[in-house]
Symmetry: C2
Subunit: 349 residues, 2 copies
DNA sequence: TTTAGCACTCCGGGCAAGCGAGTGCGAAGG
DNA sequence: CCTTCGCACTCGCTTGCCCGGAGTGCTAAA
């Protein structure tokens, strides 16, 4: 039937939506009377009570204890996010403010990523974090192999976002500085503009051998490119942890400890967003969907940012399940958009 | 007189030391009876009471409220740290463990700095942070100016710790790739091994002009070196914030918020240790000495680490004033030592 | 100068009472 | 058959109170 949503009739859906909305707003378990008083439901509290009992039986609501109001369950939030809430858009002035604040960062990849995480954390009033562009979605810009002595050299590779990575290598044969320059030029000519992940080992070896180098040099070049590809892979800027302290759900200090630990282990932080990485659009993970008991009463909103058409990184907001999803999605999208724009400023042309 | 310490007679000094020691150990305000029971003072609790009243009048102790025990004041801690406590040394096995764990980090500046902050945070059970080497204490290793088109080039400067910084510049005249190589070689020859801060603008200009370049190129080279000098200046690795949650003094969430905020603002974090930067030895700042009301019940232990003879950065521990100063000083020194050793592994020779 | 004794203070835990918000259910009404 | 009303019941939270324990300051005696 068209007046069913997710297996709920229209009235149940509306009541669920209202409960979630009210709980998000107040943080207090919401009861039937309070609901009928504040919202014009057109039915009495007793009816609402019956409906709420049904919703609880269906797993959408939970009761902290008898004689308390209802609170949404993971499933309740999920339905709300997927089907019930009305999406939000940022106002023009909000957009402008985001853009203005993003301008404060200098045109350096690290700076604009950090700035966007600070900005998002502050606007969203929650913990925000932003992954640096996956380095294998960046493209190769320049390589320079530098002779630094009879037996060793240093390889520098610059990506399209102006990130330089360097690695040392040994020189086994009697290569001259000129040889290295020749090889640098050949690499630059061959791979210019190509995605880093497409600079595969085979073509690297081919170019190196063409310049008259042997296996040892192939290994060095390969290592240099691998270094550039994996460098800073899980690099993440996080910010806004202090806002979590305002949330009543963190009166319990143990929760906080989990968060702080996660914050310091970039690895875990990265795993959190990793799941969202395949999907090109915004994603919301609620409570247990995060896959960890520690994080069971948190939610995560993740939005990709792009360079051109390609999604290159993620902006995320981590906060209590009881978060204003529509608003945060709008904020994250807006910030992602601006970040994407600024990405063009750091591009090495 | 030789049996006075800091204006306190011997018995007062001993009682003060015991009070501080006991308070650090238990976290409870310490009363006269408890003290005489646990420590063999050779006098009755009443006498201790009188002495404590004197110490309070002298500003060394404070009373949270009437009918509670005494707690050390900033001045009390200060006297304890300066004159009363007995310094600690790490055991051989502890040293070995630190060394072993530091070996886990790869030979990259960032990694060993982060590893040492993680290690120190965990061992000290407090928030630890480590500044990266001041970049102007590093020395110049290589410069490479790369021709990337008719009108632009990229300058890459590698420091003695293998940190590469890059900057873009414009080419106004019709310089060729060979010209740039020639200039690179000249820079390398002239400045090899010199401290970055000693690569002054005048000598840079001289070398550049000698190679036949004009003012525009001088500006570019100067900018590149300035970039290398100031890059990452306040770079700080922090870790162990979650330990602070165990401390009873953080039951008050507002305290925690200050800390988290500071943690995210590298600037403030840097200012904290900046004061200790001139002094070559370990330094302890207690409570209000930190210069901020927010941090008034915290203390900071700071120890420099060296490269060769030169102090290049700082290891710090931030925790409640009630911290085991002697132990933390020993831990920080031990970690600093090991960090200093590992610094040689990242040196670009 | 030290010690013993004593009255006083204050914090914190434990307990009971009362309040308020909310539920569930049976019966009445449309 | 669905909705509504009325009512008894539940339960957590707050308030007020009491009491024990730890500690202090003061006075007087050794």
């Amino acid at each position: 039937m068209e007046n069913e949503v997710d297996g709920l009739d229209k009235r149940k859906a509306y009541i669920l939506a209202t409960v979630v909305y009210e709980y998000i707003a107040t943080g207090e378990p919401v009861g039937s009377q309070a609901l009928t008083q504040k919202y014009n439901l057109g039915v009495s509290s007793a009816t609402v009570r019956n409906e709420m009992a049904d919703l609880e039986a269906g797993g959408y609501l939970e009761q902290p204890h008898t004689s308390a109001g209802r609170v949404p369950s993971d499933a309740g939030y999920r339905t709300y996010v997927d089907a019930l809430m009305s999406p939000e858009e940022l106002g023009v002035d909000e957009r402008r403010r985001i853009r203005d604040e993003m301008r404060d960062a200098r045109a350096q990849l690290d700076e604009i990523v950090e700035q966007s995480s600070r900005l998002l954390g502050r606007l969203a009033g929650n913990l925000a974090f932003v992954t640096k562009p996956q380095s294998d979605t960046q493209s190769f810009r320049y390589a320079q192999l530098i002779w630094i002595g009879e037996r060793s050299g240093i390889a520098i590779i610059v990506t399209s976002f102006g990130v330089a990575s360097q690695s040392l290598f040994e020189l086994r044969n009697d290569a001259t500085p000129d040889d290295l320059t020749r090889l640098s030029n050949a690499l630059n000519a061959t791979f210019a503009g190509r995605l880093l992940r497409d600079c595969d080992d085979r073509s690297l070896a081919a170019v190196t051998k063409q310049c008259g180098f042997g296996e040892d040099m192939v290994g060095a070049v390969r290592a240099a490119f691998t270094g550039a590809r994996t460098q800073e892979q899980p690099g993440i800027a996080a910010s806004g942890a202090q806002h979590l302290l305002d949330q009543p759900e963190f009166r319990d200090v143990r929760k906080l400890r989990s968060i702080l630990r996660i914050l310091e282990e970039q690895r875990t932080l990265y795993d959190l967003v990793a799941g969202a990485f395949d999907s090109p659009a915004a994603s919301v993970k609620i409570g247990h969907e995060l896959g960890s008991e520690e994080l069971a009463d948190l939610s995560l909103v993740t939005v990709p940012y792009r360079f051109g058409e390609r999604a290159v990184g993620m902006l995320s907001i981590l906060g209590p399940r009881r978060m204003p999803y529509a608003r945060l999605l709008a904020l994250a999208s807006g910030t992602a958009e601006t970040l994407s724009e600024r990405l063009h400023d750091v591009e090495v042309k």
